[in-house]
């Protein structure tokens, strides 16, 4: 298995080159190849999960062994948390490309789309596998540069403006991240995450380390679009083609932002009270302000985009509470519960927010508008879109029996158990407003009479592949509830949580193999 780790990066990267070379000559080459590639990576990721082997695995590029316990060379590392992220990334990539098969026909230059898409996913897979800070940074840049181009794919005024903003703020993030990595390199003389951990453990310059931590929070916070750093997200996520919006909201902000924050702050830095309070505070701010911004929107995709900020807040407060409990060396079972809630919400959000963007895309595909005021009465015309969007809306609003209910329940109960009553109350209030804004979406898009005459031919359900991707995701919205069953959770979610909490194991695997 450990020899297959680089496949996650190599196959999509190779596919992107093939598509850009051959895609223009053979019709349908791009879509077929990218669907197959993501199916393949998904199967490999799932096989890691199903194998039941939760040990971390290391792939040393070029076979460069560590010298005197000091790692040299590039290491890729697959542990349960990376595996968890890989499954999210590749599932979503597979479904989004499947959806694009029909959806992207209305754009020109399809081969560039699939090329960029493959590069983006290769970068994402690289980010979650990278074992050293510099490669993490490189893969991150691969991802975001591909996504700048993908956001601008429509090349209308709005798309270009959104992409421009995204690039400027992304550039700021890059500068911050690179600066912090430089500081860490200067201080520890190494880039390997495991090695840095060892070096930092023996250092006592708290100010410097905290300075680096803050810069990293700001840099990756920009990628994750948490609250004061979210400025680019509403524009970028609403202007991109819908499968890209689904990828950006469902995967990119998590894998390129939250994953790195969680990984570095659990496994690289020592968890301190101040930083965990700060992270939780940022999460709370995102959760509360994001939802208030969302409910006032009339542009469907912008509404969904603001909800991504808000829902990321849930993930962060779940994990942040876990950090605070760890920092005060409290009850580890409770910390584990809170982090479970956060990660559970992370995977749930990937599925339901991805699905909601695909629904928005389906509506836009038929109606050509994203304005909720110009929709209406689609319940009868697009039953599949309507049904799947109801499932996703219920999931994001936390209505049983959909997955969002359980993850929110875990987060709220964990907050109360840890005596963060205010956080629990805020989580409930935000959940209520989320429900209200998705009821607004349901009402104006699918009921409410017909806003305007949709033309003589009328509106039909979307084509097969789009419907198929949406139905699969709606089923996932229900099926992920099964993660609450302890035996399922222990083989899927719990190892990821343990990988975060058992912070010694991570670098032990990197160093002593």
């Amino acid at each position: 298995m450990d020899q297959s780790i680089p496949i996650f990066v190599i196959i999509p990267l190779a596919a992107s080159f093939f598509i850009s070379m051959v895609g223009g000559r053979i019709r349908g080459f791009g879509k077929t190849l990218s669907v197959l590639v993501f199916l393949c990576t998904l199967i490999i990721a799932l096989s890691y999960l199903i194998s039941g082997n939760h040990a971390s695995m290391v792939y040393k590029i070029g076979g460069w062994e560590p010298v005197g316990n000091i790692p040299i060379g590039i290491y890729l590392l697959l542990d349960p948390f990376s595996g968890f992220m890989l499954i999210i990334i590749n599932t979503m990539a597979f479904l989004a490309t499947l959806y694009s098969v029909n959806y992207m026909t209305k754009y020109t230059g399809e081969k560039y789309f699939y090329t960029l898409f493959c590069i983006m996913v290769a970068g994402l897979n690289g980010v979650v596998l990278a074992g050293d800070l510099f490669n993490l940074y490189v893969f991150l840049e691969i991802t975001v540069i591909a996504s700048y181009a993908l956001v601008a794919f429509g090349t209308e005024k709005e798309e270009l403006e959104a992409s421009f903003k995204y690039q400027i703020l992304g550039g700021m993030a890059t500068a911050l991240i690179l600066f912090s990595i430089g500081m860490i390199y200067w201080y520890t003389k190494t880039l390997n995450i495991a090695d840095i951990t060892k070096m930092l453990a023996s250092s006592n310059d708290r100010m410097l380390i905290q300075f680096c931590e803050l810069i990293l929070i700001a840099g990756f916070g920009l990628k994750a679009a948490i609250m004061p750093f979210h400025g680019w997200l509403p524009d970028a996520h609403s202007s991109a083609p819908s499968p890209i919006s689904a990828m950006l909201s469902g995967v990119v902000i998590k894998a390129a932002g939250l994953y790195v924050i969680f990984r570095l702050f659990f496994n690289m830095f020592e968890i301190t009270w101040e930083i965990s309070v700060l992270i939780t505070a940022i999460g709370t701010l995102s959760m509360v302000v994001g939802v208030f911004l969302a409910i006032g929107q009339w542009d469907l995709k912008r509404l969904l985009a603001y909800h991504s900020i808000s829902q990321m807040g849930y993930v962060i407060i779940g994990v942040g509470m876990g950090m605070m409990i760890v920092a005060t060396s409290g009850n580890m079972a409770l910390a584990s519960l809170a982090i479970t809630g956060g990660l559970f919400h992370l995977i749930n959000h990937a599925v339901f927010k991805g699905l909601l963007f695909l629904n928005a895309g389906a509506i836009e595909y038929r109606l050509g508008t994203r304005d909720l005021n110009q929709m209406g009465g689609l319940f009868e015309k697009m039953p599949l879109t309507s049904g799947t969007s109801l499932a996703a809306s219920m999931a994001i609003s936390g209505i049983p029996p959909f997955n969002g209910f359980f993850s929110k329940l875990v987060i709220i109960v964990a907050a109360i158990q840890a005596k963060f009553y205010l956080l629990a109350a805020l989580a409930v209030i935000v959940s209520i407003i989320t429900l209200a804004s998705f009821m607004k979406f349901q009402r104006y898009a699918f009921f409410n009479g017909q806003a305007e005459d949709y033309g003589k031919d009328g509106i039909r359900e979307v084509p097969f592949f789009m419907s198929f991707a949406m139905v699969v995701m709606a089923v996932l919205c229900l099926a992920l509830s099964l993660l609450m069953i302890p035996s399922v959770r222990e083989s899927f979610l719990q190892p990821a949580v343990d990988a975060l909490l058992g912070n010694n194991e991570y670098f032990m695997n990197l160093l002593n193999m």
Partner: protein, 625 residues
């Protein structure tokens, strides 16, 4: 696997499986779907009553330890989660289970003709069966986590049973679901706090004093849940809107019967099993109960839409149940639960009658209707019985339960607490509410069935027998429950739930019924024997109202006087501007905040970059402090 487990298996799985299968049956076989659903609900009713009458040896059942959940696979569910999957099969739960199944049967029988092939009410029967399933599971749940799961799911089915075909109905659906969903979220807080404080989350294990603020918050959170579901003030505002726009069968099914059963069931649980209430909390509950009675009935008086009128009554009657249960005595509890059953009977009957009228006339305003008693005799007789019953006219069941509640209030007055001292207030509110209910149902009955028959309604006939049979059954039960209340109904059904009842005064419902029957017969015979035909004709006495002959006999116009009465007019005005609607108030606040935040998001790039820097600087300051 003994017989209880086999019974439970059918109760907990059959409606679910049937409901899911019906999703996959095409909509063109609507009758087949309806008949299947009816058959399933009949089987459920049979097993629920078997469970009720046979009794159980062990009231708490652990679904994991008894092997229920692991039946189909070997051991997917470890024993450690057993405490999350506890059932509680005490008398109350089983009783509610039977009632849920009973109402499902009646509503499904009615629906087979009533629900026609309407595209926007897709999967109606699936959702009815899923509602049945979730309601039974809710009633049987002992673990609060299991409870909130099914309870929350009921909000979704409620939302799917109204069709949002136009602006108003989709707004009503949205409002309903937001309010129900919000209360579910708040309940999760309450459950979490209970678990934190006591370490338990099974209803049967919990006994909490409401002594400090945090316990009080937990109580309040759960109370909000039960009040929203049952539709008590101030969380009732979704009920009238839902009742106005939903198909009558949905209104009869959820807000009129099942939501009341479950909401009051949960109220009973939190007031009697989970919490030990202090005097002040009783005072709060009684105030809310009294306010619910009066406010909703005052709103009902001025309605022109008869379904909305019924919706307001579905709220008003909850006040009696809340008052009864809030008293905390056996008498109050019996009264509250009995009223819950009675209300479910006559209110779902009234909604079914309203649905029949609406289906045959296509109108939903009282002033457009009139004189239907000849054309729809069965509906008329049934509605009359329901209306008299809801107004508390003896010997019908509404009278019986209200009477017990009155007695409970008088008995309550013997205590020394602040709530006890104010017993006369609760009693007078309850009696006035009853009188106003009668007043508004005169409007309902005379507006639809009496008066001059309108030419536009000449073609209207009686509904299909499958639609009037459920109403007839409900009317007979209403009468039966009233006539045999003290002799048979209370000892057989309600004493096992609450304890032995000792009435203060002498009350024998059957004897009173006999007296009433005798007096009616005497009256008729006096009429026939002595003065037949020898009466004088005069102007109609209408209590000083101006009689506008040109408009004919129009009962709704009389009620305008109430609306224009100086003291009440501003309140009605504010109510119509939705100043008292907790939904609209919080919606406006939310949107105000939203506008403030949106104003800051003008999308100018330098602002966005500034936020990043500001955030960074703020974080530095935070760490330096």
């Amino acid at each position: 696997m003994n017989s209880i487990h086999a019974t439970l298996e059918i109760l907990l799985l059959l409606p679910l499986i049937a409901g899911v299968i019906l999703f996959f049956l095409p909509e063109k076989h609507l009758k087949v779907k309806g008949l299947t659903a009816l058959a399933v609900s009949l089987v459920t009713l049979y097993y629920a009553s078997r469970l009720y009458f046979s009794g159980v040896a062990d009231e708490q059942i652990n679904l994991v330890e008894t092997g229920f959940l692991n039946r189909f696979g070997t051991s997917y569910i470890p024993v450690s989660v057993g405490s999350y999957c506890m059932l509680n099969l005490d008398n109350l739960a089983r009783f509610i289970g039977v009632l849920i199944a009973f109402f499902s049967v009646l509503i499904l029988l009615y629906s087979i003709v009533y629900v026609d092939r309407n595209k926007s009410l897709r999967n109606y029967y699936s959702f009815v069966l899923l509602t049945l399933w979730a309601s039974v599971c809710t009633a049987f749940s002992d673990s609060l986590f299991m409870f909130i799961f099914f309870w929350g799911f009921l909000g979704l089915t409620l939302y799917k049973l109204i069709r949002g075909h136009d602006e108003e109905s989709s707004a009503a659906a949205k409002k309903t679901f937001i309010m129900i969903g919000a209360s579910d979220g708040i309940m999760i807080l309450g459950i979490g706090i209970l678990w934190k404080i006591t370490g338990h989350f099974n209803i049967s294990e919990l006994t909490v004093r409401t002594s400090d603020a945090i316990r009080f918050c937990a109580f309040l959170a759960l109370l909000i849940g039960s009040f929203t579901k049952a539709g008590a003030f101030p969380f009732h505002t979704w009920v009238p809107d839902y009742a106005k726009k939903a198909p009558a069968s949905s209104s009869a099914y959820l807000p009129a019967s099942l939501d009341k059963l479950l909401g009051i069931y949960f109220l009973t649980r939190i007031c009697n099993d989970i919490f030990l209430l202090s005097g002040w909390i009783r005072l709060v509950i009684l105030i809310l109960g009294a306010l619910t009675i009066i406010i909703a009935v005052m709103m009902a008086l001025i309605q022109h839409d008869y379904k909305k009128l019924l919706g307001y009554h579905a709220v008003s009657q909850v006040g009696y149940m809340v008052t009864g249960i809030g008293l905390g005595s056996v008498l109050g509890l019996v009264g509250g639960l009995f009223h819950m059953v009675n209300h479910a009977m006559y209110k779902s009957g009234l909604f079914l009658a309203a649905g029949s009228v609406e289906r045959n006339t296509g109108m939903n305003k009282l002033e457009k209707l009139g004189g239907l008693s000849r054309q729809m005799p069965v509906t008329f007789i049934c509605s009359l019985i329901f209306a008299l019953s809801i107004s508390g006219v003896p010997p019908l069941n509404g009278f019986a339960s209200k009477w017990i509640i009155y007695q409970g209030i008088i008995d309550f007055g013997k205590g020394t607490g602040i709530a006890n001292q104010l017993w006369i207030v609760w009693l007078s509110m309850a009696v006035i509410g009853s009188a106003l209910t009668l007043a508004s149902f005169i409007k309902f009955i005379s507006g639809i069935f009496l008066g001059r028959s309108k030419t536009s309604l000449k073609q209207v006939g009686e509904v299909h027998w499958m639609m009037w049979t459920p109403m007839l059954i409900l009317a007979l039960i209403c009468t039966g429950l009233g006539v045999f209340a003290s002799r048979w109904v209370i000892p057989a059904f309600f004493e096992p739930l609450a304890g032995n009842v000792s009435f203060i005064g002498v009350w024998d419902s059957s004897f009173i019924s006999l007296l009433i029957a005798v007096s009616i017969i005497l009256g008729i015979s006096v009429y026939f024997v002595f003065s037949m035909g020898r009466f004088r004709r005069d102007e109609i006495f209408i209590g000083g109202e101006t009689n506008r002959r040109d408009l004919g006999f129009e009962p709704t116009s009389f009620y305008e006087t109430i609306r224009n009465f100086g003291l009440l007019r501003p309140f009605y005005g504010w109510a119509e501007k939705k100043y008292f609607d907790i939904y609209d108030v919080s919606k406006n606040i939310t949107l105000k905040i939203s506008h403030i935040f949106s104003a800051a998001h003008n999308g100018i790039l330098s602002n966005l970059a500034f936020w990043v820097l500001a955030g960074l600087i703020f974080m530095f300051i935070f760490l330096l402090m």
